[in-house]
């Protein structure tokens, strides 16, 4: 258990990855590893015009906070930032950022992976597809593989 306070933001704006890394590591000499994961919007073979990301305000922040808190208990982290965007996002756009800082790389890698696995299955966000041909596509379906990914962290 650490006294670390994770930074959690749910926003429409893009994020500045360099600035977020610097916020966790600048001016300190005890951080040996910073891992970032950035999720981007794919064009699905040229068929996707945009994703519309819907979220549950209040619960989204709370649920990410619970997952981040669990990560802080399981790994010796020195910094943790999660940013998730919502609204209309076009191919190539950033969707989600996880930044973890630790003394050693293993904790930073594992915590980032853990956070993403749980974010995908527990944080209240939903993606709707808008097609290049102008039709409103389907809601993206949850993948069984994502549920299985969560299972590997059980202990």
């Amino acid at each position: 258990m650490t006294g670390l306070e994770p930074t959690i933001r749910v926003q429409t704006e893009p994020f500045d990855i360099e600035a977020e890394i610097a916020r966790l590591s600048a001016g300190r000499a005890d951080v040996g590893a910073v891992v970032t994961f950035t999720g981007l919007c794919r064009d699905e073979g040229g068929t996707l015009a945009a994703l519309e990301l819907e979220h549950y305000p209040g619960m989204a922040e709370a649920e990410i906070g619970l997952i981040a808190g669990e990560a802080c208990r399981r790994w010796p982290l020195q910094g943790l930032t999660v940013i998730h965007r919502f609204g209309r996002l076009e191919p190539g756009a950033q969707i989600v950022l996880v930044v973890t800082a630790s003394a050693h790389r293993e904790a930073a890698f594992d915590a980032a992976s853990f956070l993403m696995d749980f974010l995908k299955t527990r944080a209240p966000f939903w993606k709707k597809e808008h097609r290049v041909d102008g039709t409103s596509g389907d809601w993206v379906e949850a993948k069984e593989a994502d549920d299985e990914a969560v299972g590997r962290w059980r202990r």
């Binding site: 549950y56 619960m59 649920e63 995908k120 527990r122 209240p124 993606k127 809601w139 949850a142």
Partner: protein, 83 residues
Amino acid sequence: MKLRYFAWVRERIGHAEEDVDVPGDVSSVADLIAWLASRDEGYAAAFAEPDVIRAAIDHEHVDHSTPIAAAGEIAFFPPMTGG
């Protein structure tokens, strides 16, 4: 109590939130889903596969056996697809 709906649950029902007075015999999340599904075609379509529906009470995930008596806000939504 206040009900909120998201993603295709919201689209099928036709609105994002509402205040409802539920009958006294509706005591669990599962009861509430069954009662809502009986209201009209939109609700029936939204809750056609109850097992797929996820629920949250006051911003926390709950399973369908959870009592609703103390709930302020109950939300229904499909499995999440963020990240």
